[in-house]
């Protein structure tokens, strides 16, 4: 059935790929520029990377970004996974659908609306803007995506497994930790990775709920970019690209491995 792509089709695909990658490689290319602009390349240098590592403020921001991403993803994964299990155990299909619709609201909501509404919420309940408000927001917008990644795994699980475990005298905690979680682990991992990416990529929500004195990478790049071109940002993008590709490769291998083990058990 595999029809060979025509030359025209190949050219079209190639153009799309070039356009998608060009800006990223353009940024990385100029991160090695000894001149001060993204217009003319004067000579090779690593000084902009040096500048990133010499700038304590920037390093703190990088560490903050990673901490918020990992911590929020971890907490969101726990709440989301338990939430997904809870949703499945809901008997009334009307209630279940309502909960699912509520779950999806934050995914389709525009970032600006989420940011603004969280800002009102934090101000009303008296959460100080800064690390805490950013962390809570990231947990909040990551939970629905975790639920969506875990839910299909629970639904495809054979319920007899749980009944069998219960009949054999397992208590609820055993069922959860020994039967369910190992089975739905690929979904949980996918949810965790998605949550990390969501958190690392978020700008709009963080921009609303971050106060003075706390910043993440996105917010910092925004203020640097507003001030004009700074090749330090290019160096950051080079580092971010390497980390991103690393995460993608890791994610790819994890999903491949879980697919393989799934295949061998069937």
């Amino acid at each position: 059935m595999r029809s060979q792509l025509t030359t025209k089709a190949k050219v079209f695909l190639a153009i799309v790929f070039v356009i998608l990658y060009a800006p990223i490689f353009y940024l990385i290319f100029y991160s090695f520029n000894s001149g001060g602009s993204m217009g003319s390349f004067e000579g090779f240098t690593l000084e902009h990377y040096q500048a990133v590592f010499d700038d304590n403020r920037l390093l703190v921001i990088l560490i903050n970004t990673v901490i918020v991403a990992l911590l929020s993803a971890l907490i969101a994964t726990i709440i989301g996974t338990l939430g997904a299990i809870g949703i499945v155990s809901l008997k009334d299909s009307k209630i279940r659908n309502t909960v699912l619709s509520l779950n999806n609201i934050l995914i389709v909501s525009p970032d600006v609306v989420i940011g603004a509404s969280f800002l009102i919420l934090f101000t009303m309940i008296g959460v100080k803007l800064g690390f805490t408000s950013v962390l809570i927001s990231h947990i909040a917008f990551s939970i629905p995506i975790v639920v969506l990644m875990v839910l299909p795994k629970i639904l495809e699980m054979n319920t007899n497994l749980i009944d069998a475990a219960l009949d054999l005298g397992a208590n609820r905690r055993d069922v959860l930790t020994r039967v369910m979680i190992p089975y739905i682990k690929p979904g949980i991992l996918a949810g965790f990775f998605m949550a990390v990416t969501y958190s690392l990529d978020d700008f709009a929500v963080t921009f609303f709920v971050t106060g003075n004195g706390f910043s993440t990478l996105s917010v910092e790049i925004y203020s640097m970019a507003r001030a004009g071109i700074s090749l330090t940002v290019n160096a950051i993008s080079g580092l971010v690209f390497i980390v991103t590709v690393g995460i993608v490769v890791m994610y790819y291998f994890i999903t491949m491995r879980s697919k393989k083990t799934e295949g061998s058990t069937q």
Partner: protein, 267 residues
């Protein structure tokens, strides 16, 4: 399922109450407050003045253009991707750029479209005068389309991938031209993917504010820009909330319009 664990479900329900229901309620409540915190409907009255209505229409128009261009680039790309060998690897390569921080990609275009950037250099080689591409409608639409392409490709790719190829052979055997096959068979069968693609493009396109600030130089004002302006610059949370209420209403309308039919035996 016999298995139940009620206490473990509580944090999730709390999350729904606190971060899904409460924020919508708060936005509604604040939309009815004026600058002094007095209860009023003046924000709604203001929204229906020509300035805000024009802005809403422009925002809509830009979102339409952005969605249109994203679709006409993404559909053929997704279609051709399903025809490649190792199609999932190629899809992965399309997705990778979407994982790079949005701000960095936007920042790149400040350089690319700049007066001394590569686009202007090429224009000069071709004999044109260098022009300011940055801070124009064109640069705004281009960058937005660039950012949304991967998000549009994924659902369309999945829809195309699920389609049974024998339907296409059947259509060809019955004498349909490639165009008719596409119009009558392929496109209707993948319309759900297109709808989700439109949903993930159109709604964010209405609320972009960082791209308008960095690339369009405050010339383009979308609903998102206006909300950010009211909340963080003008400190008028009431008016900001009112605009947000309309954005939420539009969002629900789009969701109804692009709702996927999962049940039923049409497909």
């Amino acid at each position: 399922m016999k298995f139940k664990s009620k206490p473990a479900f509580v944090p999730y329900l709390l999350w729904i109450a606190l971060f899904v229901i409460a924020p919508i309620g708060l936005i509604l409540y604040y939309s009815m407050l004026d600058l002094n915190g007095e209860f009023t409907l003046v924000n709604y009255k203001n929204f229906f003045t020509s300035a805000y209505l024009t802005m809403t229409l422009t925002s809509f128009w830009y979102a339409l253009i952005i969605t249109f261009f994203t679709l006409i680039i993404s559909y053929p790309t997704a279609y051709l991707l399903t025809k490649t060998k190792h199609k999932h690897l190629w899809l992965m390569l399309i997705i990778i750029p979407s994982w790079i921080n949005l701000l960095l990609k936007t920042y790149a275009f400040i350089g690319i479209f700049g007066l001394y950037g590569p686009v202007n250099a090429i224009m000069k080689l071709l004999g044109f005068d260098s022009t300011q591409i940055l801070f124009t409608d064109f640069s705004f639409v281009f960058v937005a389309v660039y950012i949304f392409i991967p998000f549009m490709i994924i659902p369309i790719f999945n829809a195309l991938d699920k389609m049974n190829p024998s339907l296409i052979y059947a259509s060809r055997d019955l004498g349909a031209s490639p165009l008719t096959t596409f119009r009558r068979v392929i496109f209707p069968l993948t319309i759900e993917g297109v709808k989700s693609g439109i949903q993930v493009t159109f709604i964010p396109a209405l609320s972009l504010f960082m791209i308008t600030r960095l690339i369009a130089g405050n010339k383009v004002i979308t609903l998102g820009t206006a909300i950010e302006q009211q909340f963080l610059v003008a400190q008028n949370w009431g008016m900001g909330s009112t605009i947000a209420v309309f954005l939420i209403l539009i969002m629900f309308a789009i969701m109804l319009f692009t709702r996927t039919k999962k049940k039923g035996g049409r497909a």
